[in-house]
Amino acid sequence: MIKVNEVSKSFNNSKVLNGISYEIKDGDFVLITGENGAGKSTLLKILIGLLIPDSGDVQIDNFNVKKDWKKISKEIGVVMSNERSLYWKLSGRENLDIFGGIYGVKRNKKKEKIIELLRYFNLIDHIDKPVENYSTGMRKKLMLCKALIHEPKTLFIDEALNGLDPKATEEMIFYLNKLNENGLTIIMISHILHGFNDDIKIMHLKDGKIDFIKRMKEIKNNSNGDIYSYYSNILSEGEK
């Protein structure tokens, strides 16, 4: 369970987040959307403890993220948007070995887990190639593997679908849907909205506040299946 309580944050006298409160239950899949500058990445960074809010707090499973962020780090997985967050000179296997070790995964379990993840994400044929030789899609998948190596309860993802071709995007969304169906809590920032399961929640941020939270099913019903038109309307009319 993640409890966000009246979180606010400013940078250089500019309010980025303004009193955000929300509860994310175990097993939820929350898609955070919003225009550029709406505060999405700022909120995600506060949730994972990388950023401290000016006021308010975040609790993950009764741990205070501000104080206990290192304790919590073993229970969460994070996929940042930066492809360079892997060691490019090392292979996929070596990256997972290192990060698995850092996250405390036991040796024998880690070996199995590496093969399992790389097979699941269709990277097994590239297991010993250096990451610098991977395509963008392959790197994004490996970043996901890295975030899952220690079997976290919650996965945080910051715009991992950017730069992927349609097929790779579809693949990633398929994997994420499956992981969520198996019980993983996912909080994800994304501009891409199609392909997700109907019961995921969409949290739309605007001007540092939660504009609305709706289920994908509801949005699809209201938009006659054209989610992007629905969003265009929201942006132009400011619907709540």
Binding site: Y87, G101, G104
Partner: protein, 253 residues
């Protein structure tokens, strides 16, 4: 913590193994960098002076590696693009720095082996090589503590790293890398006494001249000074970590 250090050191060694030139550079550069100072003494000074300058400059070279490896550890990781990945992992900043210290120790032992070899080929040997080797091993710990403080400063005031090399030279000169600090005037000695490297060089020179008993006081003061830097470094590191988490400035330099 030890497991985390193991994997971080493993990571650095694995990445370094992909660049063959680094190993060549590390084997040869120390000899070339410190030999002008050592050969100068060979031409115009006594044999014991050559050895004293060798141990002084080698220990200074160790310091430079720690200032690059530990002191600039965060900067290196940021340039690689993996700093945030490490920050959000279970690894504490202090653990990260200790890992960098251990990695630097391994590399320093590697380069010292070749450095001694080259100097022996050129007719400059070191007396009491085994105690000197033990000194080098333990100096790794004390210089790591000193570098901690510098690393915390560098994380706080990022641009300090631009003058990393400058600071290294000043530390080397004032710690007596080429000159016994006993010959310095009092106002220079005052600076020397707050640099852990000064004591290490003094101990090393005493070992070369087989004056082992003179080392006890130096060793005690070395511990006091080094641990002071360690605690200051840890305190500053915690402060800077909180500050950076508030400002969100992990990726800006």
């Amino acid at each position: 913590m030890m497991i985390e250090i193991f994997y971080l050191v493993k990571k650095d060694l694995k990445i370094r193994s992909k660049y063959k030139s680094i190993w060549l550079n590390m084997a040869l550069t120390p000899f070339f960098m410190i030999s002008p100072y050592v050969f100068s003494t060979k031409l115009i000074g006594t044999e014991s002076l050559s050895q004293e300058v060798l141990i002084g400059t080698l220990l200074w070279y160790w310091l430079t590696q720690y200032f690059f490896g530990v002191g600039d550890g965060f900067g290196e990781e940021r340039m690689e693009g993996t700093l945030v990945t490490i920050i959000i992992s279970p690894v504490k900043l202090s653990t990260f720095l200790f890992a960098k210290g251990f990695d630097t120790l391994i590399m320093n032992l590697y380069l010292s082996f070749f450095t001694f070899l080259f100097f022996i080929f050129n007719g400059i040997k070191i007396n009491n090589i085994v105690p000197i080797f033990v000194l080098l091993l333990i100096s790794g710990l004390y210089i790591t503590f000193f570098s901690f403080f510098y690393a915390a400063l560098a994380l706080w005031k990022r641009r300090i790293n631009s003058i990393n090399t400058t600071i290294q030279y000043f530390l080397g000169v004032f710690s007596g890398m080429t000159t016994d600090i006993g010959l310095f005037p009092i106002y220079l000695k005052a600076i020397s006494y707050i640099i852990p490297l000064s004591y290490l060089i003094s101990i090393g020179r005493n070992i070369i001249n087989s004056n082992f008993s003179n080392n006890i006081i130096s060793f005690l003061i070395l511990n006091i000074v080094s641990f002071t830097y360690l605690f200051l470094g840890l305190y500053l590191l915690k402060k800077v970590e909180n500050q950076t988490r508030k400002s969100g400035g992990w990726e800006s330099w």
